[in-house]
């Protein structure tokens, strides 16, 4: 696996999340050679960090890892992880790409993923891949099912004690490794750069009241619910208490003109319902409340999923609450108007509160430098949003997944397939034209 990068590919896929992996696999299966550039140390994107997925409640790891492995082992796919697209130019009818391979300080070819360096490292840091709830070392394998299973060292917090270097059985640790730049050419580009969450929402909306440990993001809740999460069970971050009541705040930033997000983030209703369902299994006695504006259960089997959650006893309250503080016991205090009950202004406390944060375009949405046109929502724009969503305004550049706008995994997979199909048609037409010219 992990073939050394070559000089030329048919397609360059930017982003190794589920959209990028699916597009790469679909292209490779049709005989095209594909390079995938992923900024993170592992492929898998957001999906590999999820617990289970709606509406099937499949384990996210169980259905993502096969895709990751398939891409890694595919003879026509090269995965360039911990790498970023530093520049792209049109050249000879195709593209010339410059790719920065960031320094892992570990030789990718020599590392066998044994974790001896990780065990030996004395530095403990918050593990972002576990929602910040668990610790990791300064030299580490990103997570259990990361691909590739290659360690990397974080330079900023390393004390240069040298223990990792001594303990490594293959001599892979290279504390002086430098970033490298490689060049390759490709005939087509697929942008699958994904999304980020509006993590500054709590500060903007709640001010000082947002600063409390039991007010968490939806992706943090995914980690609490994941089978290999930070605590292996659902506990409250502040004190490790098993929460007796958990609430979800929907549209936390979405559909908010005031915050510059006029659109619906599309996935939050369903994942909040999913998380509530999973919690009812993990914490059978806990009260579960979803504060919502509308429930948008639009996909196949989604409405039934919502009805099931209601039947399971999840409480749905139509209100947009505001977080006003915390109790001495660490519960999060909310205020809202009891619209449907006619009860006026209410204050309620929940042991743990999850914000379903708005989905925003990734910080490096378009790293090509070609100036791919954006839509009014700030995501990549399509020149044919109805009939050919993956088509961007740049010839030979296609897009898929949440880089084009918020969408769930089902739609992302479909769109990645469509992008691969469009790119394949484009590549085939170029070859036919090339043969005709010859």
């Amino acid at each position: 696996m992990n073939h050394a990068p070559e000089n030329h590919y048919d397609a360059l896929v930017v982003g190794g999340g589920i959209a990028g992996l699916q597009a790469a696999l679909d292209l490779a299966e049709q005989g095209f050679r594909v390079a995938v550039v992923e900024e993170d140390a592992s492929v898998g994107g957001k999906m590999i960090r999820l617990s289970k997925v709606f509406p099937t409640l499949d384990c996210a790891s169980c259905i993502t890892t096969p895709k990751m492995a398939a891409a890694a082992h595919h003879p026509r796919i090269s995965l360039l992880t911990y790498s970023r697209l530093a520049g792209l130019e049109r050249a000879g009818g195709g593209f010339a790409a410059r790719i920065e391979r960031k320094a892992r300080f570990v030789d990718e070819d020599q590392c066998i993923g044994c974790r001896q360096c990780e065990y030996a490292c004395p530095v403990l840091l918050p593990d972002a891949d576990q929602g910040g709830f668990a610790a990791r070392k300064a030299i580490y394998i990103p997570f259990g099912n990361a691909i590739p299973q290659v360690a990397l060292r974080e330079e900023e917090n390393c004390t240069f004690c040298g223990k990792c270097e001594k303990v490594c059985p293959t001599g892979a640790v290279d504390l002086l490794q430098q970033p490298q730049e490689i060049s390759l050419t490709a005939e087509a580009v697929v942008l699958a750069t994904g999304f980020r969450l509006m993590t500054d929402y709590p500060n903007r909306a709640y001010g000082p009241a947002a600063r409390q440990p039991n007010l968490i993001t939806s992706l943090q809740m995914e980690r609490l619910l994941a089978p290999h999460g930070p605590y292996m069970r659902v506990l409250r971050p502040s004190d490790g208490k098993e929460p007796d009541s958990v609430a979800f705040i929907q549209c936390a930033g979405s559909r908010d003109l005031n915050l510059g997000v006029p659109y619906c983030s599309r996935v939050c209703c369903m994942y909040a319902i999913k998380q509530a369902m999973l919690l009812s299994g993990a914490l059978p006695l806990a009260d579960l409340t979803v504060y919502y504006l509308d429930i948008r259960a639009f996909g196949k089997n989604y409405e039934q999923f919502f009805q099931n959650a209601k039947a399971m006893g999840v409480e749905f309250v139509k209100a947009k609450p505001v977080v006003v503080g915390s109790t001495a016991e660490g519960a999060v205090r909310l205020r809202y108007e009891d619209q449907e009950g006619g009860g006026g202004g209410q204050e309620r406390e929940h042991d743990l509160v999850v914000m379903s944060l708005a989905v925003l375009p990734a910080a490096e949405l378009d790293p090509t430098g070609l100036g791919v046109g954006l839509g009014a929502d700030g995501f990549l724009g399509s020149v044919s949003p109805k009939l050919a969503p993956p088509l961007t305004d740049q010839e030979g550049v296609f897009a898929a997944g949440t880089a084009l706008g918020p969408k769930d995994i089902v739609d992302t997979i479909v769109e990645a397939g469509a992008a691969a199909s469009q790119a394949a048609a484009y590549l085939a037409a170029r070859r036919a034209a090339g043969r005709a010219a010859a």
Binding site: G207, P208, C251, D256, V322, E337, G344, G345
Partner: protein, 380 residues
């Protein structure tokens, strides 16, 4: 609800200026962030808007429709950017035009009509605050018109704000003057109460006065005057620059034009007035002015955009609020709990209500001071 919707009410509200009425999606965030939640009050902006949308009865009472303090917290948070205050103002105007204003506000409106001020005081006594002080009259050679809020002209406690300010302006050598009895109430609260015709009359009189005297720059003592001069008057033809006294004082202090001792060691908390902060976006200059006299700044948890309204806007300063429902009471308690010796602010309404609640709470060690007063005390 068991009521029959009366859709003509919806149209009437929109025609009266509540153009955003139907943009509301009923999320209720306004009701959640409203300061009335602090004291279990009845006012729920979301419900008021729903009743307006459908033309249902129930919003017209003093505690609901006239409960709004126009603090702007809901407006800056609204996901649909609904001008909730504009909608509320239109709904009030329908009630006020048909003679339904709360009794205390009728007196206020009547006095503005007759005397040009809401305090039922004679127009001629408008300069009573300046007794014994050298306050120049505004003439075309003066740079600034000092527009003293009616409250600081007539209310005894508030007069000290204006007196302190002119002392500072005199010491800094600022070119300014006043226009005295010619001046009318700015009409900000009048408009929020819902008497649009009276507001137009007051604004027109003030604009004619500005024009007649060649006013190019205005200093206001109240953020309420500031907001209506900068947001409402330009649409009626107003052309001038306007600045709040705290902004000017910050500039003067930074330029070294105020001989301040800078040795006031007291612990001072700053209360952001709604009309200066959430309405005007002026957060830093008042803080800079306070810091110029060497005080120890105590941060309140609810500050800047999250500041707690004193309860005096939208006409509420003239309405009776039971002590346990006064936001100002919570505010002085918050300041005292934070260890502040002085609660400084920059609005005559805030000063009046906070002073009142300070007495109610028996907080004898806490002083309520307008920034001008704090700075004047520190003049070397």
């Amino acid at each position: 609800m068991g009521q029959t919707p009366f859709i003509e009410v919806n149209q009437a509200i929109v025609e009266s200026g509540g153009v955003d009425l139907n943009a509301c999606m009923q999320c209720g965030l306004c009701a959640a962030v409203c300061p009335w939640r602090e004291v279990a009050g009845e006012f729920l902006p979301r419900l008021m808007i729903r009743q307006g949308q459908l033309g249902l009865e129930g919003y017209e009472s003093d505690d609901v429709l006239f409960g709004c303090t126009t603090c702007n917290k809901c407006v800056i948070n609204c996901p649909r950017e609904v001008d909730i205050i504009g909608v509320m103002r239109a709904m009030r105007s329908l009630v006020v035009e048909s003679g339904g204003a709360p009794e205390t506000l009728k007196a206020v409106l009547g006095s503005c009509h007759a005397n040009g001020n809401p305090w039922s005081e004679p127009r001629e006594k408008r300069m009573a605050w300046s007794e014994g002080l050298e306050v120049p009259a505004f003439t075309p050679d003066k740079e600034h018109l000092l527009f003293v809020c009616c409250t600081s002209c007539y209310e005894q406690r508030s007069q000290k704000i204006a007196r302190s300010l002119v002392e500072l302006l005199n010491r800094a050598g600022v070119s300014y003057g006043v226009l005295g009895p010619e001046q009318n109430c700015c009409g900000e609260s009048v408009r929020k109460i819902g008497d649009e015709a009276l507001f137009q009359k007051l604004a027109k009189a003030n604009l004619e006065m500005f024009q007649a005297h060649g006013v190019k720059k205005i200093i206001t003592t109240s953020p309420h005057c500031l907001q209506t001069f900068s947001r409402d008057y330009p649409a009626l033809g107003g052309e001038y620059q306007v600045i709040h006294s705290s902004q000017l004082l910050a500039e003067l202090a930074a330029a070294g034009r105020l001989p301040l001792s800078a040795s006031d060691g007291r612990k001072v908390a700053y209360h952001d007035p709604c009309y200066l902060g959430r309405h005007g976006g002026v957060f830093d200059p008042p803080r800079a002015a306070i810091s110029a006299c060497g005080v120890q700044v105590v941060e309140l948890e609810r500050e800047k955009e999250f500041s707690l309204c004193c309860g005096g806007g939208g006409g509420r300063v003239w309405m009776e609020t039971p002590p346990e429902q006064r936001f100002s009471l919570l505010r002085v308690q918050e300041a005292a709990a934070a260890g502040a010796q002085v609660l400084a602010t920059a609005c005559p309404y805030c000063v009046s209500l906070l002073e009142d609640s300070r007495k109610t709470a028996g907080l004898e060690d806490l002083r309520i001071m307008e920034i001008s007063e704090l700075l004047a005390e520190n003049l070397g």
